[in-house]
Symmetry: D2
Subunit: 350 residues, 4 copies
């Protein structure tokens, strides 16, 4: 049997999702990264920018190429690890050339272009492709992803929060008008950029909420949950910054409309067979480090004092299941590979 | 005019609340720490254990004395910075000798002795003193504290959470049957003790919830809020451990029963003149570091998307306003000093 | 007796040394900060930028003023907490108006203007004032500082490293041709600026050396040590970045030429009476946190295996004894106040 | 061709080197962990203790067994991830049964039993086996390791420090009587144990030296360097604790006796072909995170100001190349596998 070989292009590989893609693809037996572009770093070797990739073979020795000159049409798949707005500008040409696209930014996440424009402050460039794009959360849209030409890879918060609410909302057993997501993220979620609040001297030994009035991931989460809910979803979403590099911890609150439900069993049933969702035993408290550098979302369910409020704890590595790992999972689905291919390395603990 | 001089005893000064008391009392113009006890460290100089107190004068050169031999009856006030159960065993004798007591542990917090026994797994030793003790949250019980012989100093979570809910609950404008407190604490809140989960290699670059099924501070918070609420309080309280040394961030959720209320104005009005509660302007996000090493509780109020859920953000330094600083504030009240005496040093930022 | 009142101006108060100056001056009984300038933040209240100063009285309510419009000539003293080059451009006018200057940048540190120009890549603007300026390390130049119109406040590394080598070099008991300073700094030493390598996601859980080939503080240290050495000094200086906010730990190596010397006694004798240098007992290991937020430099001396190499461990808070605290100490000297005025708050530990 | 299958036993797998071994062996195509013992955790599933190993197949579902009952004689190789003294007590029986041993503790590191007894405060149990054991630093003793029945896996500091000094000492171009190793370690190097100084609240935002008078790794390093030096080695070794989980950064100082040497070329030549030693280009500063979770030791060489002192910077992950990864590398050698088998996953950055 022939080993399949997927020619991969990466647009904008100098951020955290970019270097994480490189790390994961270096461990992928079928991925062949043949081009990686960067406006600012054209000509630089990948491993000169990221010395962690020295000695990792071809992937580290690759050089960033000028986006204006790179020909991505020979790739089987192109990942966009870029700011919002880049993928939609290039999608038409690539799709027409038969290249499949996985966008790690927001261009293909929100089905409602007006919502996209409201939150991302730019007009959407290709409404038709937006309509056909699959939302890349395999646990909800696996079949569509398999066939998709374009996948909008979910945001980091939306992955953990949707997975955590999913069984409750699908099951129709909670008051969807009053969902609360209190989420805490490590700083890499904000990207590899110079921002004063992300400096170690500012963000370390500190904790704060931000964007309480409204965060771009809010409409994405609501869209996803509405898609599997019989009743309209209203969500209060409070993001916080916590002094760690990787990891998201979502603490979710929902009021049971049917308090007789066995929520533990419900969660276990819903995620049976899911390779990357781990429902822990009752009374567990998942830690973000227990998924560090891995593609797992680990979940525990509580019902404090037997009351009518369910508390769901969901953790993920924001750069893996919340970004690059999920993108590779989507690539595996799109190319008919076992879903876990290249994603089996255990979490790094401690 | 004579400068008042308060002779202070500290029982159990080797933990974090103990060393924090020493730091604050070193800056207090009227406190004269004359005895500090420790079972394990008797004979050791304070500044041999805590080199940060070298060169800080008498307070650092004091030696820990054997609790069995120390005579605390000559003190004007004794702070207990001990495990639960120690203060109640010595309270009777001290009170009879005219010594006033501030207990930083839980012995005099819960009015219901059965609740105390349920959560702290020991019988209460002095029900009568429990009955007369004041709960040391000045913003709620200032008059009682002034007159008290015994003050039960609040827990760290209860301070931030009660202050944050106070205006809403007193005002009778929220559904008190469904309050949610999602709280995040730095590791010093757990005390200066060898516990695997508190090691840097375990707790750093990590985030987790704990005790979701029930935490000892739960009954204390509910007792306090019930005391100022016309309707019974039910609370879901989720504590989390965040990788920082000091600081608590409480994110509080309550549903408005009267959505026409101006909650910002309500909070500002309620805390006018309070020296240690700072209500920030609308749309603020208080950071824990903005109160580091100071006695301030800083609060912001939000109402995301103009919905019916109020989100309160409250931060404090768990070792100061959540412990030793509040204890000194209580001492000031008990001895007729200006409430801010010795507590005016600005927060340490960055 | 009249309480002296020192009118203070601060130029460029938005960086870490600026906000630290504000914190320290808020505790100073004689300092009256009347003007603080910032090009970018003119009009902003100080406590809007630094919420830690909310509720700290006048100093927090001050507004940054436009440097072009601010009149600093009415001040008794002006601190420059600016990038290199700003102080020397304004020094002449201020000195002529009788204002005294403490520059926290490098303009008045290096006596040799050519050295300044080599390391800071700009011509020196006022050679005559450079010649008269005092180097603001009180433990070496106390008398000169008292009389100075201009003080060049030392760099953070040079403070700890010079104090640590001082007794050995003055004593003429080490081979000054082969001194080694292996120094580790928290990230606030690099200033409050957007620099990728200083982000929490880059600098946390990481350790690295930098500028091993040459660091701007190298000539400053060598100048200082040469000033008290009978033989020429050659120094290898290796700075490192360690994942913490504040603190410098200098590990110094020197080879004894006279191995019979009692180095512990030598250090104790040299620093007797110094209020801000603490020589610890033999076999101690000073921790940076033991001086956090305080003006102390704590030192221990070792001679491993009784060999001919002395190892000195010296710690300081880079923002206090390494910057703003030393600047206030210098101000106290210049205005005839007790040297410790406003600088007595204990270190914050934990 | 038959895939070889190595039956592996682990004694004492509840510490950091234990769980790291499990992580690495889970990625090893030929290792079959069949028994893991723990006195305290007998009966517990590995993944109940380390939830990071949930979903990692057989290795996570294994249960710790009672050391008294476990039969290790059926294993091909047994790793001891135990406190010092355990391996030597069991070595005889296992070796006689044809089992090969890799000890991650110190029992088989120091050839001189008296030195062992001096530093580890216990008599050595099997002098003959000590004599035949190979010292498990492949870059120095590859041939001996291949044939060994017992491998004493090096300590974490000794690995980085010996590799960093190796070309200089072997080359005979430095004054070996005056070597200095200033080393900084993350806290996991101290093991997974309750020790006050290792708590996050104590060790975070802090930096300190420790054991400056003498550290157990000192004789091990000196033994190794003496083994390849024509002149006797005297070393000053200063270990420091830095607030991070993983990583060692060794900064090494040596004085050139022949200043004409091209040290960069010397290092490149010495480590050509070494799969796990990376000599970086001139003027580099390796970061510990660039080797996080990987088996690489990354080295840079400097000669500041062209002087006679060489400064070597060497980084490793103390749990991988400094412990479990090197142990797997040794296993690969002992069983005739390619040396990099199972050790190729890229470092985790950020």
């Amino acid at each position: 049997m022939q080993t399949p070989r997927i020619n991969v292009g990466i647009v904008g590989g100098t951020g955290y999702t970019g270097v994480e893609l490189l790390r994961l693809l270096a461990m992928h037996p079928h991925a062949n990264v043949c081009v990686i572009t960067s406006r600012t770093e054209a000509g630089t070797a990948v491993n000169a920018m990221f010395p962690s990739l020295r000695g990792q073979g071809a992937i580290g020795e690759l050089r960033f190429s000028d986006p204006a000159k790179a020909d991505l049409r020979a790739c089987h798949v192109v990942f966009f690890a870029t700011p919002h707005g880049v993928a939609m500008a290039q999608a038409r040409e690539l799709v027409d050339a038969g290249v499949r696209i996985i966008d790690l930014a927001a261009d293909f996440r929100l089905k409602n272009a007006a919502e996209f424009e409201r939150w991302y402050k730019m007009p959407h460039a290709c409404h038709d492709l937006l309509a056909e794009a699959a939302y890349g959360l395999p646990e909800m849209h696996r079949a569509a992803i398999r066939e998709a030409r374009i996948v909008g890879n979910p945001g980091c918060y939306p992955t953990a929060i949707q997975l955590g609410f999913l069984p409750l909302v699908e099951g129709g057993i909670v008051d969807t008008a009053h969902l609360i997501a209190d989420a805490k993220s490590g700083v890499s979620g904000a990207g590899r950029k110079n921002e004063l609040g992300l400096m170690l001297a500012e963000a370390s030994d500190n904790f704060k909420a931000y964007n309480v009035a409204g965060h771009r991931h809010h409409p994405e989460i609501v869209q996803g949950l509405n898609g599997c809910s019989a009743t309209p979803v209203t969500l209060v979403f409070t993001p916080h910054l916590t002094p760690m590099i990787r990891g998201i911890h979502a603490t979710l609150y929902a009021r049971l409309t049917d308090p007789s439900t066995d929520v533990q069993a419900l969660f276990e049933r819903r995620f049976t067979g899911e390779p990357f969702v781990d429902v822990m035993p009752p009374d567990s408290h998942p830690e973000t480090r227990s998924v560090r550098a891995s593609n797992v979302c680990r979940i525990a369910v509580h019902r404090p004092q037997g009351g009518d409020t369910v508390v769901v704890l969901a953790v993920e590595d924001n750069l893996v299941k919340g970004a690059a790992g999920q993108a590779v999972q989507n690539m595996n689905l799109m190319f008919g590979l076992p879903e876990t291919t290249g994603l089996t390395a255990p979490p790094v603990l401690p």
